[in-house]
C-alpha cells in the first residue's frame, strides 16, 4: 500500500477514543508552540548557540511516540525538541536546558542538540548526523539480552541516510532480530540541499536489502504515522526484529537559525506544504468534522497550551545558571 499520499481519513479516526485523539492534537500543538517560542527567544538572544526547529514535523514525533511505552528507548537528532516533548519531557526543564540553566534536563551542559531524558528512555539528541543509529541499535541489543519487551526507536533525518553507520546498524539489527525501529523523517532537505541531489535510489530499498520490512508513509498525518509505528513496534516487541519507516514531512523553517532566506527552495513550495498538508491544521479539521471537538474546544486547547508554554518559559527563566565549579563535574562517573 502506498501511504505517501494518504488523506487524514485514510486512518479512520472513528477507531480511537476521543481522549486519545485530542491528546495527539494537543501534543502536536505543544511542539509547534514550543518551537515558535524557541524561535522568538533565540531572536531575542535569550537562547545561546544554535537551535533547529521541527515545525511541520510534529506528526512524526507524536505519531511514533504515542505508540511507545514510557520505558521504551528513543534516540533523537539535532532537530529533536519534538521527539523529546512527545516522549514525555517537561517543557520547563526543556526551556531551562535551552537557556543553559541548572534545572535543565542536562543541568545546562547539553543544550538543544544534546537534550536527553533518562526518566522516559530518551537517550538523547545527537549533534553528529546519524550517530543515534548505532546507539539505538545497542539499546535494542540491551533490551533483548536483558529479556525485556522494550523496543528502541531511532529517529533520523533524510540527511543521515547516507552515513555508513546506517548500513552497519541495520545489518546487525537484522542479523540479530533486534527490537529497533528506524524512523527516517524525510523533511526533503539535508541542510541546504534537496534530498534528490544527495541521495540515490529508492531509500526504502536500503532497508529491504537487509530483509527489514520497510514502509513509506505520509509523515504529515499523525494517525497514519501512529498506525505504521504501532505495526513496527509490535513486530519488535514480539521478537520479529527491526523495521524501517520513511515518513514524508517538511520543515517549515530553515536548517538552523542562520538559514533565514532558504534560497534553495521556493516560497510557493513552502506555502503548498503549510496550507495543504499541515499536520496540526488537517488533524484539527478532522476532529471537528468527526464531531470530537468544536471550534470553541480547539480555541480553548490552544489557549491552554499557550499558557503552559509561557509558564514553562518562566520556569526556565527563573532557574539559575550552573555554578562555575560545575564545569569540571560529570567528566567521569564514580
Amino acid at each position: 500500500m502506498d501511504l505517501a499520499t494518504s488523506k487524514p481519513e485514510a486512518a479512520p479516526a472513528a477507531r480511537y477514543e476521543k481522549t486519545f485523539l485530542v491528546n495527539l492534537y494537543r501534543q502536536m500543538l505543544s511542539i509547534r508552540e514550543f518551537e515558535e517560542q524557541v524561535q522568538d527567544l533565540y531572536n531575542r538572544t535569550l537562547i545561546p548557540g544554535i537551535a533547529h526547529l521541527s515545525c511541520g514535523q510534529e506528526a512524526v514525533a507524536v505519531g511514533v511516540c504515542s505508540a511507545l511505552q514510557s520505558d521504551d528507548y528513543i534516540t533523537s537528532t539535532h532537530r529533536g525538541h519534538g521527539h523529546c516533548l512527545a516522549k514525555g519531557a517537561d517543557m520547563g526543564k526543556m526551556f531551562a536546558e535551552l537557556f543553559g540553566k541548572v534545572d535543565g534536563y542536562c543541568r545546562g551542559k547539553g543544550g538543544s542538540m544534546h537534550i536527553a531524558n533518562q526518566d522516559v528512555g530518551n537517550l538523547g539528541a545527537n549533534a553528529i548526523v546519524g550517530a543515534g543509529m548505532s546507539l539505538a541499535t545497542g539499546a535494542a541489543l540491551s533490551a533483548k539480552l536483558q529479556k525485556t519487551t522494550r523496543v528502541s526507536v531511532c529517529f533520523f533525518g533524510d540527511g543521515a541516510l547516507n552515513q555508513g553507520i546506517l548500513l552497519e546498524s541495520m545489518n546487525m539489527a537484522a542479523l540479530w532480530r533486534l527490537p529497533v525501529i528506524y524512523v527516517c523523517e524525510n523533511n526533503q532537505y539535508g541542510e541546504y540541499l534537496p534530498m534528490e541531489r544527495v541521495t540515490a535510489g529508492d531509500v526504502a530499498k536500503r532497508g529491504e536489502a537487509f530483509d527489514i520490512p520497510s514502509t513509506k508513509a505520509d509523515g504529515m498525518n499523525v494517525l497514519t504515522v501512529y498506525e505504521c509505528a504501532q505495526r513496527a513496534i509490535s513486530r519488535a516487541r514480539t521478537g520479529q526484529g527491526p523495521s524501517f519507516l520513511v515518513l514524508d514531512t517538511y520543515r517549515y523553517y530553515g536548517h538552523g537559525m542562520s538559514d533565514r532566506n532558504r534560497a534553495y527552495r521556493s516560497r510557493e513550495e513552502e506555502r503548498h506544504w503549510r496550507e495543504t498538508r499541515d499536520p496540526i491544521m488537517r488533524f484539527a479539521a478532522l476532529l471537528v468534522e468527526n464531531g470530537h471537538l468544536t471550534t470553541k474546544n480547539l480555541e480553548l486547547i490552544q489557549a491552554e497550551v499557550r499558557e503552559e508554554t509561557l509558564a514553562a518559559i518562566e520556569f526556565g527563566t527563573n532557574s539559575p545558571f550552573p555554578k562555575p565549579e560545575e564545569v569540571a563535574q560529570h567528566v567521569y562517573a564514580d
Partner: protein, 335 residues
C-alpha cells in the same frame, strides 16, 4: 607485586583471558562483542573458551563493522549492560572515533551526569611484527587527549589481569591497549582464588634505581629494563617506572621518582611528536624542575608511517641500545 603466595607463571594472553572469564562469572551484564571473538576465540586467542562457558548471548561474533559494534556497545552500556568491545588492531580505532570521542566520552557530561557509559574497548598497539603501516600503530595518545575516556597500558601479565578487572568495573569508557608483542610474555600472577585488582592512577616501579628515572609504558618497559641491566654493568643505576594508566596519570608517582634521581628519560611507542612522551616530560619538567640536573629526554616512535621491511621497521621503534645512549648522556653529560 602483592600476593605471590599462590602465584603461577602465565602468559599475558592467559592473564587477559582469566580477567575476562572471572569478571563474566561475577557479573552477567558483561558481554563481549568483536570480530571472531566467539567461535574462533579471537585472532590472538584471548577470548578462547568464553563462548563455551558463557554462550552466544554473551560472547558475540560481529560483522567486520567497527563503527557499528562500538556504537552498539555504547548504546548497550547506556542501557544497563557492561560491554567489552574488541577492536582487533589499534589502527582500526580510526573507524570508531565518533563512537568513542563524540559519544562515549561525552555522554555522562552532556547529560549532566545522567547517562553512564561503562564500556571497555580492548585493542592493540605496537610495531615489530612486520605488519606494516595499517596494523602497527600505537594511537593511545589520541584517546588520552580526550576528557571522559580512561586509557590503560598494561605491561605485565600481573598488571594486565588486575587492570582489566578494574577497567571492567569502572563506570566510564576505558580503552585498554595491549601490545601484541607481549601476548606470549610470561609473568607471575596470583592464582584465581586471589581476587586482586589494580587501581587506576598508580604508577609501578618495575626496577629501583638512583641515578636516572626511565618512565616507560607498555612494552617499552622491557626495553627500559634491558637498558637498565646493561647500564648496571657501567655502574649506572636506572629506575624504571611504569605509569600503567595514562588517564588518570599518577603525576605524583612519576615526579617523586625524578625528584630522587634528578634525571629522566620518557619512552613510549606512540609517535614522539605531540605524544605521550611530550605530556609526561612536561609534567616532570614543571613539577620536578628544581630537582633536575639535566633537561628531561624523551623517545617515541620515529615520526614515519611504520614500514614493512624489517630493516626499516626496526629503526622506528625505541630500543635498548638507544636508551642506553641517551641515559649515558644524561648521567655523564655525553653520549
Amino acid at each position: 607485586m602483592s600476593t605471590l603466595t599462590e602465584a603461577r607463571e602465565i602468559t599475558f594472553a592467559q592473564a587477559v583471558n582469566e580477567a575476562l572469564r572471572e569478571e563474566m562469572e561475577r557479573d552477567e551484564k558483561i558481554i563481549i562483542l568483536g570480530e571472531d571473538v566467539a567461535a574462533a576465540g579471537g585472532v590472538w586467542k584471548l577470548t578462547e573458551g568464553l563462548l563455551d562457558r558463557f554462550g552466544s548471548d554473551r560472547v558475540l561474533d560481529t560483522p567486520i563493522s567497527e563503527g557499528g559494534i562500538a556504537g552498539l556497545g555504547v548504546g548497550a552500556a547506556m542501557t544497563g549492560m557492561r560491554p567489552i568491545v574488541e577492536i582487533m588492531f589499534g589502527d582500526f580505532l580510526t573507524l570508531v572515533m565518533d563512537q568513542l570521542v563524540n559519544q562515549a566520552a561525552k555522554m555522562y557530561y552532556m547529560s549532566g551526569g545522567r547517562y553512564r557509559v561503562p564500556i571497555v574497548i580492548r585493542t592493540t598497539l605496537g610495531a615489530g611484527r612486520r605488519l606494516a603501516a595499517q596494523h602497527s600503530q600505537s594511537l593511545h595518545a589520541w584517546l588520552a587527549h580526550i576528557p571522559g575516556l580512561k586509557v590503560v597500558l598494561p605491561s605485565t601479565p600481573y598488571d594486565a589481569k588486575g587492570l582489566l578487572k578494574t577497567a571492567i568495573r569502572d563506570n566510564n569508557p576505558v580503552i585498554f591497549f595491549e601490545d601484541k608483542l607481549m601476548y606470549q610474555k610470561k609473568g607471575q600472577v596470583p592464582s584465581s582464588s586471589d581476587p586482586y585488582t589494580i587501581p587506576f592512577g598508580q604508577a609501578d616501579i618495575k626496577r629501583e634505581g638512583s641515578d636516572v628515572t626511565v618512565v616507560a609504558t607498555s612494552s617499552m618497559v622491557y626495553v627500559a629494563l634491558d637498558a637498565a641491566e646493561a647500564l648496571a654493568a657501567e655502574n649506572v643505576s636506572v629506575e624504571v617506572i611504569d605509569p600503567r594508566t595514562l588517564t588518570p596519570l599518577d603525576e605524583e608517582g612519576l615526579v617523586s621518582s625524578v625528584r630522587k634521581t634528578s634525571r629522566c628519560l620518557v619512552i613510549d611507542e606512540g609517535y614522539q611528536r605531540f605524544g605521550v612522551t611530550a605530556e609526561i616530560a612536561a609534567v616532570i619538567s614543571q613539577k620536578a624542575f628544581y630537582h633536575l640536573e639535566a633537561p628531561v629526554e624523551r623517545m617515541g616512535a620515529m615520526d614515519v608511517p611504520v614500514p614493512f621491511s624489517p630493516v626499516l621497521e626496526d629503526q622506528t621503534i625505541p630500543n635498548a641500545d638507544r636508551v642506553v645512549g641517551v641515559v649515558r648522556r644524561l648521567v655523564k653529560g655525553n653520549g
